[in-house]
Subunit: 352 residues, 4 copies
């Protein structure tokens, strides 16, 4: 049994982590740390935890928690974790950071898109990008994991095999993504209010969303067979959908000449046939976010549009599970040598 800590446990991703960890058969002690609710019962902040986890919220002291924990999850706004994680801390325990600070190999890319200075360039080389299906081997030995973003996990998993197998024109890639409102977090912002997002859909962050460079780095690695972290440039447009959870990425790309349905199916199968959390749908069948809700699954489907010689591929996942907390636990399982699906076997609920 291991001891874990969650810093930022009272945000939405943090609460989902708590939900998974409280039922993880290998997890013993859990420290739920918070900025705003120190000393208050966790169940008073999230009443769904009554009779489940009624302990008080802890002070968010990374150094102290690192000494007590085997794994420390950080679920904080970008720019915070890089200020506090140190070499000492990651010697004490493995840090899985759900924020953006340790997702990029090139701090300049981070600084350009996040419009801030990276506070901890020296640790970047220690960080492993936590897209479990791609970097399982590296994650096993990692002390610091940069857990991917929600849009990015969905978009990369859907697109990576196509580029890795050389089936599409990289410069034709358009990713039109849609997310539920929980992706915006629990902060009290006008745009996250019920009446402002209910019964409407809107694009946002057009051509500027911060998940863009994260997707591009991984897709560049796919295209270059791991040699280059840049090169692929995509159009990425997220949209806000009036639902609590779920992300759908609709990917458009020109097929290279002669590419067949079988080629594409082979590319996906090669990468994902043995993956427990990736579900490949039959040809011309498409994912819907309801079928993955509450689970760590990512569903992928595609069709070939003969008229335009484009592939249209879609991926769907639960932004708080495979897009955040679930993948973080998956990474914990990898780091600690557990079976990867331990504590993550929830079946998607429907209707939920």
């Amino acid at each position: 049994m291991v001891t874990v800590g969650v810093i930022g446990s009272t945000g939405y991703a943090g609460a989902e982590l708590m939900r998974l960890l409280c039922r993880h058969p290998q997890v013993g002690n859990i420290y739920a740390a918070s900025q705003s609710y120190v000393g208050e019962s966790y169940a008073s902040v999230y009443p769904n935890f009554h009779k489940v986890f009624d302990e008080p919220c802890q002070v968010s002291d990374m150094a102290i928690l690192a000494k007590k924990c085997d794994i420390l999850f950080l679920s904080l706004p970008h720019g915070i974790s890089s200020q506090h994680v140190t070499e000492e801390i990651i010697q004490e325990c493995v840090v899985i950071d759900l924020g953006a600070d340790f997702r990029f190999s090139d701090p300049n890319v981070y600084e350009t898109w996040y419009k801030t200075t990276h506070k901890n360039r020296s640790l970047i080389t220690e960080a492993v990008y936590g897209l479990s299906e791609l970097y399982r081997h590296e994650i096993q030995a990692a002390r610091l994991v940069g857990n991917p973003g929600c849009y990015t996990t969905c978009s990369i998993l859907t697109t990576y095999p196509l580029l890795a197998a050389g089936l599409i024109e990289a410069d034709s890639l358009v990713i039109d993504a849609k997310s539920g409102v929980s992706g915006a977090g629990r902060g009290e912002r006008l745009g996250s209010m019920f009446c402002e997002s209910n019964e409407s859909i809107k694009p946002y962050g057009v051509a500027t969303h911060r998940h863009t460079p994260e997707i591009e780095e991984q897709l560049s690695l796919a295209l270059s067979q791991g040699k280059e972290t840049s090169g692929v440039i995509i159009s990425f447009t997220p949209h806000l959908v009036p639902m609590n959870r779920g992300i759908l990425s609709t990917v458009y790309a020109k097929l290279k000449t002669g590419v067949s349905q079988a080629d594409i199916e082979r590319a996906y199968a090669t990468m994902y046939t043995n993956e427990q959390f990736i579900r490949l749908l039959p040809y011309n069948t498409f994912p819907e976010t309801r079928w993955v809700k509450g689970s760590n699954f990512c569903d992928i489907g595609f069709t070939i549009d003969q008229r335009t010689q484009r592939i249209v591929a879609c991926g769907a996942l639960d932004n708080l599970v495979k897009g955040a907390a679930g993948q973080a636990v998956q990474n914990m399982n990898i780091v600690l040598g557990f079976e990867e699906q331990v504590g993550l076997d929830a079946i998607p609920g429907f209707p939920l």
Copy 2:
């Protein structure tokens, strides 16, 4: 490991049963029987089950399944199960009927409210009412369990202790209940369509809803200390709320003279302190359906309105879990001598 069957597995309650049973640590084989989808893969009907339960739907033959199963769940429209359950079947296996046919001790009450003839009066005396917290002892020995309705479970759990302890005027009881749309089932009816129920609230079945007599029978038993199945007559009004899941019952009753907050807290505590699935909220705190969603919990809170000398008590549960499939599994656990919470320890998800 036990073998179970679900007849009516492709309705919403049936699918929720499947979800619980597929992850129940004591359940081995599962037969998913269906009327409309025999031979089709269960996961093609409910794609959330891909990689989880891809087996084909079975023929709904109760006699055959009874021979194969330890427990047979029936999730059928009222009037069907009573036609097919026989003495032989319940000798073969324990039947847990999620429909209404075996919930009433008096078939005349059933016939009056359901406007039909009861097809199997002889088995009524064998049936045990499956409100687990109230009839645990009887359920242990039952061969046939009439699993309660969703509104009824919520309304009875909230009101029973007040009557059993003699704290309220029975004839002043008003229960105003609200439910998500999944309670109406998967049938393609106009009123269940998105645009017809979204962004609106309505009452329905006013003064005629069939859960009324079921609540009244149990509350009569509460009032009479188990001696009478009639006597309590209530006003019960259900409302349709634009959400997938959840039931909230708001209960109003005149307090008997001199009844104090402490009396009420004692009445609830007496019945529920040791109950794992009942969560009593602090005084003047009220349940919300979001805090129980996806779980087998029923949350209860109340306040005393000194001005009107009424208690206002609220109960909330997930209509497909504690209000249907969860309670059915709870009853299975009781029948088979398992720990009652086995397979039912899901923490409510939020935001979900």
Copy 3:
């Protein structure tokens, strides 16, 4: 053509007022005053007003606006309007206050429930309660109108005829009300966020909601034939429903002995047959908020529950129209001698 001003025009009720006033055939100039957005284009705050009302928001100076306007609407948090309205202002123009400050005849009642001191007791006697159907005559001559609350309009319209005609036991009244989220206003509060209110229902303000005494004052007047402003005490419980708009009040009361369906129909007909905005539904037919959405209608239906000898009556309206801005415009029409339905003839939209 008249000139009107709206102070608090950037709240939800204010914006709905703007929408109605911009299309009112007798309204010429409109001043949209705001606290937070002075100088900014109104359409930048509410982009639905592009090409409709692109003028800048005005300073919220009541004295200055009173000089320019025939009618001044106040849509402010309680306690503010009473600080600023003066005898001089209501000599300059008619003030229609959508807040609570001038709704009560007894300032002590206001102070008890609103837990504040009334800032302007002298003007209370000048104020007319703006429930148009009840006080049309008084409103015609009013200089200061206290526009009713949303729950109150719905609850009073549904219940008033029953008490006025002596058909029900006043002390048995229970009003269980449900509202969409726009009733909570545009303030950025946790409980109003999408993920916090979507897919859930909860009661709030149980036994303490401030619309209670407002309903009680009017129902007391109904019971006493206008002689008493107190006497009726009700149980009133509001609930938050995941939808933008709409209020439903479900009213329960014991019928006096011998009261028939015809008696009740007569009581409703007597008061409402000539009312353009009240729609009486056939016996045993119930309103749904979707059928009034976007309109100034209030729909009312009822049934008699012979078993309990209670009437169950329901009223439904759009909280931002008949429950706020629409009724305010209706009152303006009455004050200015226009036809009452001018500018208020929108047909409810469906599905909307």
Copy 4:
């Protein structure tokens, strides 16, 4: 005052037509014809029409209604109107068909995509495509108007100026569209049920949706300056969003070399500056469906992604208004020589 008829008045688009026509100042008599509800009061089918339009539904006899009406609106499933419209009928009255039968200049295109035989090829040459902003002049003289689809209106209005001005590479066009559920109509289908579409997003009709060729014909005409009805081939993917109303089209295209923001703004301004129902948003501002809900507006915004040299342009409209009934009334106004905005000046409601 004119007399109008609506055949198919009890579908969602038909009901929205009724709502607009009942308040149109130049419309006198209205015949609401229906297939399923002949003889029943229209208000019993749509209770929002109580006290507004309580007349009975008429028999759907096109020939008879044509004699009585100045304008006949058809809101029927595809394939029906072409069976019944005749030369005689369109001599009697002007027919505005909201279905697909008369939208295409080439019946082969229709037959390929709709997988049916066109029943009335001879009338195709008489039909005018009813996208009001593009074909105002032709509509004035039309006897038969093929009113555009919802996705098509939104997508064409957003894209047309870019192609007409030669600013984008036509073969790079990707249109990712999102619609509320009312677009699927009032038929009782599983996919339109609340629990099946709520809290989820999905693509559908990928590479096969029937609005594709309609968009392509108009965009081909744009590209060829009116000379060719084919040539442009697009990727078009619709998605179902859990909301009642609204369509958003997100359009991606490669800019031709040297095209500037000013060029694009000029292209839009040239076509739309004098259009009352088109609202061009400031650069890098994007439409949201909530800001057009309930109105005949189409909002358009765009940005240039310098990294990819793509334009991302978005259009938003209310699928039942500008995408169906509103545009039909706009076309009626054009045909009859009324001011184009008569009866269509509703301000979008918010929050609605």
